[in-house]
Amino acid sequence: MVALAHKADDEAGLGLAVRNVSHAFELHGQTLPVLDNVSFSVEPGEFVALLGPSGCGKSTLLRLVAGLEPPCGGSLLADGRPIDGPHPSRVVVFQDPTLYPWRTVWDNVALGLEAQGLLKQNRARVDEALALVGLSGFAKAYPHQLSGGMAQRAALARALVNDPRLLVLDEPLGKLDSLTRIAMQGEIVRLWQSAGFTALLVTHDVEEALLMATRVIVFSERPARITAEIPIDRPYPRHRDDPVLVDLRHKVLDLLGMGSSW
């Protein structure tokens, strides 16, 4: 269980700084602004949730953090150094598990180590990561044989096996049924607590953000600007009916313009 937590020390979490980042897409010859002068920073070991209406540009921000695209303006720093490309210390788990259908679950989880040429010495880590997400019995299964929740667990194991210092979660539970969702919210928080990485979660589910994160950053409609930052100083495991969280939920829904509908 704690096998992957051996980096739970000072250097486990990565510090992230987003400075005046703006981004836009070219669509049919028109410029579509997505991010408008966004700045925030994440301390090592923090669990920050980015909350906003769907399509507001949160996922774009995650692509920039992952280094998959450079921003149009501003800069992103990981531990003070500019992000200039993807790096296995910053791993993304996307909304779709996107497992490689031609690889078994084991080979999917091993992909990062294989790509970095570290697989031979670290085969045991793949088994550990599978055990961590409860998929040991499915190592030889192909992705199409898994349920949605199991596939997302496999995707999580594929990220965790690299000992990421920043785990970027792009609505990873968005497509799961509500029971699996609740179970995995707790699991991810436990993994974060034991491994000590920094977590950045994008979600449009207010409750999910409040249950999991130490701080919630609320975004406006596209182009996304930050409208509020809300620290959540509640112990884990948290409960949905915690009065402080219920109050916060009203406040956040108000910020998102949904105050009257609750």
Binding site: L68, P86, H87, D96, P101, L111, A115, Y142, N162
Partner: protein, 327 residues
């Protein structure tokens, strides 16, 4: 819990223990009887004209009947027996219409013993032709497919390569490989190398097009995830793009194989002085229609054998697809 599982296991295990049906055995034996009947008919009913190998044919038919009877008793003919029965009836009809009653115009329709005669007397030449055709087909096909695969991956992956190669493919690709025949036969030093080139060309185009469209259509999230996990370009091509494209590649390989057959036969009929295509042409020139049918049958077996082999390779390489779609 374990007890419940054990009981469930026993129940599941009991299902196949049901007494196996006798129907396939009876069916197989009746099909065997039909083959024996055709053998008797062939041997007892005198031919309208004299055929040399009628006796051998009757023995062969009896051997088939015996083998079939043995297979049904060993329960190895569970699914094949209706086909074997139909084949026996077909051979009987063929034998009666040709050798026994001379109903079909000669020499265009040869009786079964006519084909048998070819296989018994002319087998060295036929075998040489089979080897020649098979070598030409396999070498040309492998060369063309390999070149097509590499070109497809390069064009699908690199914009620069695509810029230069795509227009050429679009212009020349749709041209049937047979249109190159006259050019190939004077441009290449030997007719063998010319026909290898043509067979390769026939396989090249479909494999290239399917590979490049497959590479171009790979889900970009596959690349994103591999990149965040530390994959370099080489890994992205070899471990992401190519495996993701393999189902397309196999469609191209099947299309290319069909094209290769066609070009092979035409090339052998027109310029090459060996191979099954040449044999058919030669037999027809001598009005030796028995030889022609014999060669056609061999060719059918060769082609379907290669297609079956390709299916086996695909089933092995793309086993992961089995649960995803119907093949």
């Amino acid at each position: 819990m374990a007890a419940i599982e054990g009981a469930a296991g026993e129940e599941a295990g009991a299902l196949p223990k049901e007494a196996p049906s006798l129907r396939p055995v009876i069916g197989g034996l009746s099909a065997a009887a039909a083959w024996f009947a055709v053998a008797a008919l062939t041997s007892a009913w005198p031919d309208a004209e004299e055929w040399e190998r009628t006796g051998e044919l009757a023995s062969l038919l009896a051997v088939v009947g015996g083998g079939l009877a043995l297979a049904s008793l060993l329960r190895r003919a569970q699914r094949a027996w209706p086909w074997m029965l139909a084949l026996a009836l077909g051979v009987a009809a063929w034998e009666v219409a040709t050798a026994k009653l001379n109903l079909l115009p000669r020499p265009f329709f040869a009786p079964p013993q006519g084909l048998l005669e070819v296989y018994l007397d002319d087998w060295p030449r036929l075998a040489e032709c089979v080897l020649h055709s098979a070598w030409l087909l396999i070498s040309g096909y492998l060369l063309g497919s390999a070149a097509g695969f590499i070109t497809g991956v390069a064009v699908g992956w690199s914009r620069a390569v695509g810029y230069w190669v795509n227009p050429v493919l679009r212009l020349i690709g749709p041209l049937p490989a047979t249109a190159w025949l006259p050019l190939a036969f004077f441009a290449f030093p030997s007719s063998a190398s010319a026909s290898t080139f043509l067979v390769a060309l026939a396989a090249f185009f479909p494999v290239t097009i399917l590979t490049l469209s497959g590479v171009a259509g790979v889900n970009s999230a596959f690349y994103d995830i591999a990149r965040t996990l530390g994959a370099n370009k080489r890994f992205l091509v070899l471990k992401v793009a190519i495996p993701a494209t393999m189902p397309h590649v196999f469609v191209g390989l099947f299309m290319g194989l069909g094209g290769s057959f066609a070009v092979l036969v035409v090339a052998e009929m027109l310029g090459v002085k060996a191979g099954l295509g040449w044999y058919i042409q030669w037999a027809q020139g001598w009005a030796a229609y028995g030889n022609m049918y014999a060669a056609l049958l061999v060719m059918a077996l060769l082609c379907s054998g290669l297609v079956a082999l390709l299916f086996r390779i695909r089933d092995h390489l793309l086993a992961w697809q089995k649960g995803l779609l119907r093949w």
